[in-house]
């Protein structure tokens, strides 16, 4: 190889960058964990089927927000016929008051930081 030294250095750097997740994981050294959001409510069902909630709760919140703020509708009839007020703090957080152990479990795992709590009131939790 001509200029072998420089090229090998370049290749090593490139492969180091490409495999970043592999050695980052080795370096962080923690065991693999999956988030376990803790359900504390006595209710048996969420406002929509669990599969749907897991994947699409943010879209549902968006829908609720638009319906409430733009159309003034406040009542949501769930899939099981129950009626809920469409509210982040008063509905979701009533059944899931443990934000840290519930919402944040998943969000920290994925690395999303919903900005909702800039304005909406977080439930008070006793740590």
């Amino acid at each position: 190889m001509y200029d072998g030294g420089k090229i090998v250095v370049g290749l090593v750097v490139f492969i180091g960058v490409v495999t970043f997740p592999l050695w980052y994981r080795q370096a962080s050294g923690e065991a693999l964990r999956a988030p376990e959001p803790k359900i504390v409510t006595d209710a048996k069902e969420c406002v929509a089927p669990t599969d749907y909630m897991r994947a699409s709760h943010q879209a549902m919140l968006n829908e609720w927000r638009d319906l409430v703020v733009r159309d003034g509708m406040r009542v949501y009839v769930a899939f099981n016929g129950q009626e809920h007020e469409m509210s982040l703090s008063n509905t979701c957080m009533k059944c899931h008051p443990n934000k840290v152990e519930f919402c944040d479990q998943c969000h920290n795992y994925i690395g999303v930081v919903p900005y909702c709590w800039d304005c909406h009131i977080e439930p008070k939790e006793s740590n």
């Binding site: 190889m1 001509y2 200029d3 072998g4 090229i7 370049g10 290749l11 490139f14 492969i15 490409v18 495999t19 970043f20 997740p21 592999l22 980052y24 994981r25 962080s28 923690e30 693999l32 964990r33 999956a34 988030p35 599969d51 897991r54 994947a55 699409s56 943010q58 879209a59 919140l61 968006n62 927000r65 998943c106 920290n108 795992y109 994925i110 690395g111 999303v112 930081v113 900005y115």
Partner: protein, 330 residues
């Protein structure tokens, strides 16, 4: 022709995963085996291509320059467009890699009525190319949130910046909108401009369709169909930790996305996409123009066997003397 072939190639790829996952339940194949195989192919193929290139000697500085060469001290030279030092070369390389400087000089040849030949400024290709590559990079870096635990702060910051306008929920990433627009432009450019359509091959269309399919499946997953991202991260972390597992309940759309990525990575080293590595080995970009300051010897020069006049005279002295020829040494 090339466009149609490439389009159907991508459609077939999508169909393969769809059938494989939905009908044959080959989740482990598409979720674990193929991604690993693709990564290995990518790395091995990349090294292979670079090593082949690195074995070609570049005996002389090939200097396509766009500025004044370094010469007399009173003539102002252009350090970036005609570098004579390593620093200058690094500067030129950075401009090339980060800002596509030589594409910025792109011109379009036009025959005007007159008839007059004119060179037009043409910046759209540069602009679309630049925003395409940058948004691709941003998306790639943002995706590290699936492969790292804990997610580095920098990646979260990039996410925040990319979703700056907080449009809708999940918040719209600007890079998604930009890359879709840019890929569409790059494709339309190939089909709508006759000269460019003429020189476009299947190998030009295929990466475009592949990336378009990849982005489209990602966009569908985030904004329209929505998938269980937590389960997907479990799969991704399993891959990273070499303890692969396939969680339940992942939408087939994700397998399509992952398969298209795998195809892209495996195809990469054998295609024009290798310009990622190639740009760093471009002799016209990475060599300082110092031909007049330094002697560059051809690396394949071998010692030439010469027979000097002195040796010749020594060999034939007697005969030359006998013939009465003049000699340098008696």
């Amino acid at each position: 022709m090339g466009a149609l072939v490439s389009f159907f190639a991508v459609v077939v790829l999508v169909a393969i995963v769809f059938v494989g996952v939905e009908a044959a339940n080959l989740r482990y194949l598409f979720g674990v085996i193929i991604p690993y195989a693709a990564l290995i192919t990518f790395i091995a193929g990349f090294i292979y291509r670079i090593v082949i290139w690195a074995r070609s000697p570049v005996p002389f500085r090939i200097t396509t320059t766009c500025g004044q060469q370094k010469s007399h001290p009173w003539i102002k030279n252009d350090i970036l467009d005609n570098p004579h030092s390593t620093i200058g070369v690094i500067g030129r390389m950075l401009l090339e890699v980060l800002l596509f400087r030589s594409l910025f000089r792109n011109t379009r040849l036009e025959l005007r009525n007159g008839p007059k030949l004119a060179y037009e400024w043409e910046k759209w290709l540069w602009l679309a190319g630049l925003v395409f590559h940058w948004s691709f990079l941003v998306i790639l870096v943002r995706h590290l949130r699936f492969f790292t635990e804990p997610v580095p702060v920098l990646i979260q910051a990039l996410e925040g910046l990319d979703a700056f306008f907080q449009i809708g929920l999940p918040a719209l990433y600007l890079s998604d909108a930009v890359i879709l627009a840019a890929v569409t432009y790059l494709f339309l450019r190939r089909v709508l401009i006759p000269e460019i359509r003429y020189i476009s091959l299947a190998a030009d269309y295929f990466p475009l369709f592949l990336i378009f399919g990849l982005v489209l499946s990602g966009v569908l997953m985030r904004y329209f169909v929505r998938v269980d991202v937590v389960a997907i991260k479990e799969l991704a972390m399993g891959l990273v930790a070499f303890r692969p597992s396939v969680p339940e309940g992942i939408n087939v759309l994700f397998y399509i996305h992952l398969f298209l990525v795998s195809v892209l990575f495996a195809y990469f080293p054998f295609s024009k996409l290798m310009h990622l590595g190639g740009v760093f080995l471009s002799p016209t970009r990475n060599l300082a123009n110092n031909n007049r300051m330094e002697r560059h010897t051809n690396p394949w020069n071998y010692p030439v066997k010469v027979h000097t006049y002195e040796e010749y005279e020594d060999e034939f002295r007697d005969k030359m003397k006998a013939a009465g020829l003049p000699l340098e040494k008696e």
